[in-house]
Amino acid sequence: MKKIKELLIEKLILICGLASIFFVLLIFLFLLKEGLAVFKTVSSFNFLFGKSWYPISEPPALGILPLIMGSLLVTLGAAIISIPIGVGCAIYIAEIAPLKIKEILKAGIELLAAIPSVVLGFIGMVTLVPLVKTVFHLPTGLTALSGAIMLAFMAMPTIVSIAEDALYSVPKTYKEGALALGATHWQAIWRVMLPAASSGIVAAVMLGIGRVIGETMAVMMITGNAAVMPNSILVPVRTLTATIAAEMGEAVVGAEHYFALFAVGIVLFVISFAINVTADLFLHKRQ
């Protein structure tokens, strides 16, 4: 009796364990099945590098390069803003801040992570967007730059907490050794601790970027959503994520537009997957 019970529980847990993989597989297969159908009408080259996205014109133009460029521009901008600030903040928390400030800062970072993206988007819309508009004398403040700044706030908690963790786990003997050789505190940080923590910091950055590239709500609210090739960071752009979110509701099931949106999903999936795998590689290298 006991044996049967053991066996039953074991199998049940096995099913739970396999379920996650099973669902991921299903989702991926579904995505492939629906997405690949678009390539019957448009070649993969024209899909990825086509410069116009007019999915409801006749015939539809299904080139997602403007969307990819939009995503890249916003992500790159967010990375440029959030990486120095995030890593700097991590160094400050891990190495310089007195205990009390450290606690406050860590709590603050966690709080930042807890703000729903729609709220951030909303705040960006009423504060940042008008500011960008007046500072740069633009016809509209709904630009890639606004999106990049807002997304930087979203990437920062991830970057700070993982980078801080990486710095904290650098053996104290490294720092002692550097100081005992007459290094200043900053020299010890820059020349010994940062290199020692480098793989963890790279992983932190990758995961932060991963969060940015998958973000939808805030970018949809503040980047202006114009699916045109961006020629600067001060124009409206539309990201891959925002495209799916905005258009899926009105796409006719089974039409080319519908399949194309799934294909956009595949592209997004591949990008995030690559980023996560890279981050993982670096994290494991550290251990």
Partner: protein, 251 residues
Amino acid sequence: MAKILTKGLDLWYGSFHALKGINSSFEANRITAIIGPSGCGKSTLLRVFNRMNDLIEGVRTEGEVLMDDKNILSSDMDLVALRKKAGMVFQRPNPFPLSVYENIVFGEKIHAEKVARDRLDEIVETSLKCVLLWDELKDRLSESALRLSLEQKQRLCIARLLAVKPDILLMDEPCSTLDPQATAKVEELMRELKVRYTIIIVTHNMQQAARVSDDAGFMLLGELIEFGKTQDIFTAPRDKRTEDYITGRYG
């Protein structure tokens, strides 16, 4: 003349009185061993000489420590200069997670106003030769220092230190993680180095102190019980407690 002179040195960790009125003098070009049971304050004393205790919160020091007639405990002491002059070798070898080469040129890079590339190679070679590692490592300079054996790591740490051109070598149980053979090699190295440096070694290994040192001090519960020539301390200790310790009655 004494290289380092301590006068009425007291040190507290918070309310714990770790060093009690230490008066001692360390001579140049000699190896001075500080022995005593664990927790007697010998490492703490060593860490006074390069002010590493400053890193610990709640440490308070009183008294005077004169190094070349300059009180290193004064608040305007330049810590970078002090640590350049009095370098430390730690209990656990702690090479940086960089290449062998980068480990050795670390000191030059942080101290030199302007780093001359061609000088770096020279520094690496002379420093490694000093610790008798050159032949073993000359083809592995770009390898990570973390891949070396424990003994090689400790030697590398000493080489890294010598590259800074210190005056004084503070060694905090430098052989405690090494096997007897490696220990013998490091001890031999110390004898060679004492011609040019003042060496202070903290050890709980009395045989090592007897083998390698010229002078020795015995510490117990934060007090320096006895200080003198190693030979005298080991053959004719003046204090009963020293005798008890070196004959193995406690410790």
